[in-house]
Symmetry: D2
Subunit: 144 residues, 4 copies
């Protein structure tokens, strides 16, 4: 993936997760789908903190694509920290990036492409007005 912004950039929202025994699978390590859940928890909290208040009325963000690169295995017990930031801003779409760190090393990197749709028609609509202003302010340059 792309060049990585520094961990302490204030536009990155960091969330923490605790690994669960239930996260493991028959391979003995944390199942790969669990990583997607860390990204989702980060994204939902990023939405709530920054975007939900400024979304155009009657619009909603839906996930259209998710890409994840696995960098290392995780084992129970343990903790991870997940950084979430806005890495890409299109006309109707937003690209949320994640970086998952466990045991002091990068274990995964991801991007979720979310599309702003009209809640009634379910068709894409532009990210404009206050939502765009906010998104531009949150956009993390150099992350593409």
């Amino acid at each position: 993936m792309a060049e990585r912004p520094p961990d302490d950039d204030p536009r990155i929202l960091w969330t923490e997760d605790v690994l669960r025994y239930r996260d493991t699978d028959a391979n003995g390590h944390v199942n790969n789908a669990v990583f997607a859940g860390f990204c989702e928890s980060g994204r939902v909290q990023f939405f709530a903190a920054h975007l939900t208040p400024v979304l155009p009325p009657g619009s909603v963000l839906v996930i259209a694509r998710f890409v994840i690169d696995y960098r290392a295995e995780l084992h129970f017990p343990g903790r991870v920290r997940t950084g979430t930031w806005l890495g890409r801003l299109g006309r109707s779409s937003l690209g949320f990036r994640n970086r998952i760190v466990g045991d002091g090393r990068l274990v995964g990197e991801a991007e979720a492409t979310c599309v702003l749709i009209d809640a009634a028609t379910r068709r894409p609509r532009p990210v404009d007005g206050a939502a765009r202003e906010t998104a531009e302010r949150l956009l993390l340059p150099g992350a593409e």
Copy 2:
């Protein structure tokens, strides 16, 4: 647990589940919490089929207790069938029984105690009227 009603009793709702690789844990078998999910899927479909239409307006069923006895291990890949029936009827509570069958043998038995509450006050309220009539008709005698 209690005496078991025959599999073909029409008051038992049978649902099917397909085991997933994600259901396994580091022990190599299907994780024990996954069994609870089979029971829940059965219960939710039993509610929808029989009880939701006759519940008193403004009331809702919530789970208060869940008890499960593990009888055998499950391994991926495979399928299970889960039988769900009403095994107990109290003033405000209903006891939903489950029997999980995999590979032709019993792998688990469970009971969920659900309480009918007023959606606004969140306090228990009697199962009465059409809900009680329906529940009495569904109740599987000899299951206690």
Copy 3:
């Protein structure tokens, strides 16, 4: 359930979990099966810390029964703390208790009955020798 030992009893192992968006279900709250996962994570860490080193060679603990009482709902985001202790000691079985605390209040109480079996024959065998000595020392009186 039974009388509750004080939170600060040193025989209680406390583990922490972070709620995930994935833990929610269509009811809008944390799904009831997720609570079982908190108990399991606590139990697995209790085993590793106290029991695994003293189990008789060739023996293994398996879960036979799980009982949980739901006391309150949980909502994302948030954290819980789970206390795990040995509340019951039988000839071949151990009863592990859990108490789950979220938002400063009790949200669930559980007990898992685990049986010590011979790994080869899969039949119950007595908890004896160093395992019994350790279990007796860990047993939390007044919890039954």
Copy 4:
């Protein structure tokens, strides 16, 4: 994604899944990470059926990247069918494609990039010998 092979191509392995209530999240639909689980179950069964028997001794396939495009929502209750095929063959990597179908329409498309590694050194190693012959025979042309 790429041009789609016909559903009845014999090189596609079809697996079935039953939706569970636990698959839903607070949005009321099946959580997006659950789709990844369908792909994984398909992939694991594809491995077992075709590749595990011919992998070079001491080698193992690990997932390096997962990409999924969400095409439609899924709701409980219901079933899905997942097609899994080999869509790409590199020196050390294999690209497994998935197509998830629910309610008669495409709900998701995915690709998992798996890398053959030496189990001891954890370094990539070529897909050669019987594994390559098998992979070439399974490779679904036109899928890239």
